[in-house]
Symmetry: C2
């Protein structure tokens, strides 16, 4: 027997579950600390997705308790729609089984791997089974005890019974994994906290292994809009994919396949395509050859086809990013950016960037917070599209230290990047980093440069603003001095305000909070400390929470606008009504005045 035949005896097919059994590190189980984080992450992401699909405000409870040496019991319970009984063992006991695999819409889970990987890892490391209790609104609650047949990639059900449940619907899973519980940057607590930042509509309770309870209350009662599924966009279709569509379609002609199965193919586009490629629209699919598909693919990329509307995506929103960042970190300057929806390989995506500057006590590398589809990315922090984009931008002009204008900048900054897409191109199944797909990387760079330029303007103007503040502080003493000087010679105090205004030439904005008869108000005080009448727009956003306003304010959803017209040396007040408890950290902007004339608000 020659070598080729010897080798052939050993050649065999492995199952997907065997593949991941051997390569469990690909799934985020490469060390005990991370294994525990990954297990919680997959369960939490699943629960958030399920609630979002059913437009339910999530109430999620996570409990971790020690169950042996280096072993923990994890229980994650949600109020989602539940899973129909016959699918429970498939969803949790099989890899690549799920509802989101072929769907072109944004969700946290997209591969059908996450939660079944947790069972796989649990089984390998502890030999124990997973228990799932689930109830749908129309059905009864079932408890299913199962393990995974790794060779077959399917579940073994060991016990299945009806149980009582008080809930309307929901799922609860119980699983045991080998792991190690820690605190710090890469901890479960940190993952849950970051998840709460980008999912303000979720309420999460976490009971840690010491029995301590951490509560993350929802700060928004508006669930993210349900994202809609879309058809693949023609810009991303490859020759072989298009050919395979024609070969497998139930539709009969070229025109049917193109208009029914692809996004945005109007009659005008169809006619143009057919005339350029000389393939008649009524050609039967079976007649389409590789060369035809090649022609069509090439031409489709040349034709202007509308980009998908963003309702298949669920970005966080600039205000929420600002709010989330400002809640966690104290800083002097914040700027955010939202890109236009784009397409890579036929998948829509959108990039959001936030930049904080002047964070206290930080002269080390800037902190980079990475998110994909509202999920924090924690590991593989050195790689992927976001990191390479940050490294490629020259940050030196914006007050950062950076060797040769390349690499991670140093300084008191925090950068947040969120990529939302119908299919995030992760660099691995463990979903730690976004692959450096050129389209997405370019968009992130665009957002970073936008923010850097805004920061540069701020940093360079900061000195003039600082001078303005100094002047203001001196000017504030003038009336007092005038009064004191006057009191020495007579008792008539001269009006020094016009003098002060001439020196200062500024608009001063102050924010204060007051409570009256159990109602909370935010009061914006505007002082015109300039020698002229000033007209401008006072503008605010409240991160998705609707406040009321006084009679002068124009309320538009979460935005309130006041048209200000203020006399020299006078004061005006503008008031927000019905501010919920815990709120008050709104952002105030001014439009229509030069930057170096405003104290206490951002000029846009």
């Amino acid at each position: 027997m020659d070598i080729a035949h010897e080798l052939s005896v050993k050649q065999e097919q492995a199952s997907i579950a065997e593949f991941f059994e051997k390569n469990k590190h690909l799934l985020g189980f490469d060390n005990p600390v991370r294994a525990l984080v990954t297990s919680v992450k997959e369960a939490l992401d699943n629960s958030l997705d399920a609630c979002e699909e059913a437009s339910i405000l999530p109430d999620i409870r996570i409990e971790i308790s020690p169950s042996g040496k280096d072993e923990y019991r994890i229980v994650v319970e949600d109020n989602g729609p539940g899973i129909v009984e016959e699918n429970i063992s498939r969803v949790f006991g099989r890899l690549l089984f799920g509802s989101r695999f072929h769907a072109h819409r944004q969700s946290r889970g997209q591969q059908g791997i996450g939660i079944s990987a947790v069972l796989l890892y649990s089984q390998i490391t502890t030999g124990r089974r997973m228990n799932v209790i689930s109830k749908t609104t129309e059905g009864e609650a079932f408890s299913i005890n199962m393990s995974m047949d790794i060779k077959k990639n399917s579940a073994n059900i060991h016990n299945r019974k009806k149980v009582k449940s008080e809930k309307k619907s929901g799922t609860s899973i119980e699983v045991y994994v080998k792991g190690s519980y820690t605190l710090g940057k890469y901890s479960i607590l940190s993952y849950i906290r970051n998840s709460a930042v980008v999912n303000p509509h979720a309420s999460i309770t976490f009971v840690d292994p010491n029995g301590e309870v951490h509560t993350f209350e929802r700060c928004s009662t508006v669930p993210p809009p349900v994202t809609t599924e879309i058809k693949p966009h023609p810009y991303g279709i490859e020759v072989g994919e298009l050919l395979s569509m024609f070969q497998k379609s139930r539709n009969k002609t070229v025109s049917e396949v193109l208009t029914y199965e692809l996004y945005g193919i109007t009659n005008r586009i169809l006619n143009k395509l057919c005339s350029v490629t000389e393939i008649p629209a009524d050609t039967p699919c079976s007649k389409i050859k590789r060369k035809d598909a090649e022609k069509m693919t090439r031409e489709l990329r040349e034709i202007a086809i509308r980009l998908p509307s963003s309702n298949c995506l669920s970005p966080i929103g600039e205000e929420l990013i600002k709010k989330g960042m400002n809640r966690e970190f104290e800083s002097k300057f914040t700027v955010t950016y939202t890109g236009k929806p784009g397409i890579y390989h036929g998948e829509p995506y959108i990039v959001e960037v936030g930049l904080l500057y002047g964070v206290k006590g930080s002269s080390d590398e800037v902190d980079i917070l990475r998110f994909a589809n509202r999920t924090p990315l924690m590991y593989q922090a050195g790689s992927g599209a976001i990191i390479s984009a940050v490294k490629s931008v020259d940050w030196r002009s914006a007050g950062f230290d950076q060797r040769g204008g390349k690499g991670i900048p140093y300084g008191p900054g925090i950068i947040l990047v969120h990529v939302a897409s119908t299919n995030i191109p992760y660099t691995s199944e463990s979903k730690d980093a976004i692959a450096a797909v050129p389209e997405i990387t370019d968009d992130i760079i665009k957002g970073l440069i936008y923010c850097r330029n805004k920061l540069r303007t701020y940093v360079t103007k900061k000195s003039s603003v600082e001078k303005l503040k100094e002047k203001y502080e001196i000017a504030e003493i003038i009336p007092e001095m005038a009064a004191k000087s006057a009191s020495l010679v007579s008792d008539i105090v001269p009006d020094s305000s016009l003098t002060v205004s001439r020196i200062l030439n500024a608009i001063v904005v102050e924010k204060s909070i007051k409570t009256e008869e159990n109602e909370k108000f935010i009061v914006i005080t505007i002082k015109n400390v300039s020698p002229k009448k000033q007209k401008f727009r006072l503008y605010s956003e409240s991160a998705g929470i609707n406040f009321g306003a006084d009679e002068k304010g124009i309320v538009n959803g979460a935005k309130i606008v006041w048209d200000v017209d203020i006399e020299p040396a006078s004061v005006e007040r503008y008031t927000y009504h019905n501010v919920p408890e815990g709120e008050g950290n709104i952002n105030v902007y001014i439009k229509g005045l030069p930057v170096d004339m405003v104290i206490g608000a951002d000029v846009i």
Copy 2:
């Protein structure tokens, strides 16, 4: 119908091929440049593996030619053992099919994904088929034309015929992919060059898309030893895995399973284990419960079990690393390190490190060359065990610039790290980076620190050596000056050599190459420029190539040792015979002298 039932309708099973069709970036196909590199890489790695398994010196020919807009035809031909006809379509047309999946031994391919992923990508992007011609030594040559059924993860054979072949055995594949051909750091040429560095036994010819032929001749005629398969090591066995072994084994008792299916379980170890856990050795497998497996797993980690011998691994070797690095880069200092074989999750591994210092014109970030199982890692350069190990070492004491003693150091250095293992824990299927498994990361850090310390010694001693060189240069003029001065007054030239020797106090080593009657020699000249007789050992290694030596040299494989005993102010010569053409770049060391006394050789 409630939401749960609506969702259940959409829940379905995807095949592994569908999974990778959707996530082709996981396989290294995330942009056109990389797609072409990945395609070549997978084919080349496959050929090198096949030859290695059959102990054949590889002759590989790679040809890339444009075949359309953004499309290339790739042909890779080897002289490996070939593939038996009925397996050809499975090896190339199915994911997770192969001979190496369950084998515990070192090879480049380990997942059964690489080459079939190339077919998948080819089909998606071009709609074309793959053609494979293969011949085994005992069989005829077959040509098979195929595509992949993605839904089923299996091959469709379109054409299959016997063809004529002059070869003894070998495989040739032809595949078309969408891609972009470039030059530079991340190019195909660079991949092939780096592969040649760590596979000196391979001869590779590359015809680029412009028709230019690049030849990488083998510089060693010794194929790497065939690695042997080993049984899993008990240190890596998890509770669930051990339990599953008992449940599925054909062996009947605990003692049979443990001794036949695990590595290194001697009778002594078995007896100890059985007595500590109170599980008799003759317990039938069926009686073993989870709790028993838990006890055994815990105890197995406490018992000293011998580490696997390194013959399941194929490290590059320190000399070959030095040679490879010195061939590519000119530097002033080289140091290498080979770790002891270790175990992670039951898989043996070994770490090799090389460090070059004083590379010309480099004050930027140090270059980090990463290799795993003799394969260059090119992408995801910012992540993984190697990069995080480099970043965690404080390089400042060794002449590098590094902010706060953390992060990638700056300076004229090149770091090479090679990890060899029976199962490299890659961070993704595209095999770009090694996951930061604690055991491996720690070993890399150990190697880096070893090299850094050697470099630190060199850097701190360099100044004294530089002074020595200066003295030498001055000293060399003394006899001349003496002669000239003497000629002015008389014609007797005084012997100034002892004076010079006193000033200098050094051993000078010089290397020269000469050719006589078609035989090439390397001559090592030793000058004792010290006032005393010196005894030391002259030592050399020639990177696996056997030279001859003069009668004074003791030849031991590729190592030659001379015991030198040299009078003051005298010269000795040592000669290598039979040096092959293209060789001569050997390393010479001296043992038994202080560092600051030697010019022209490394002191070890």
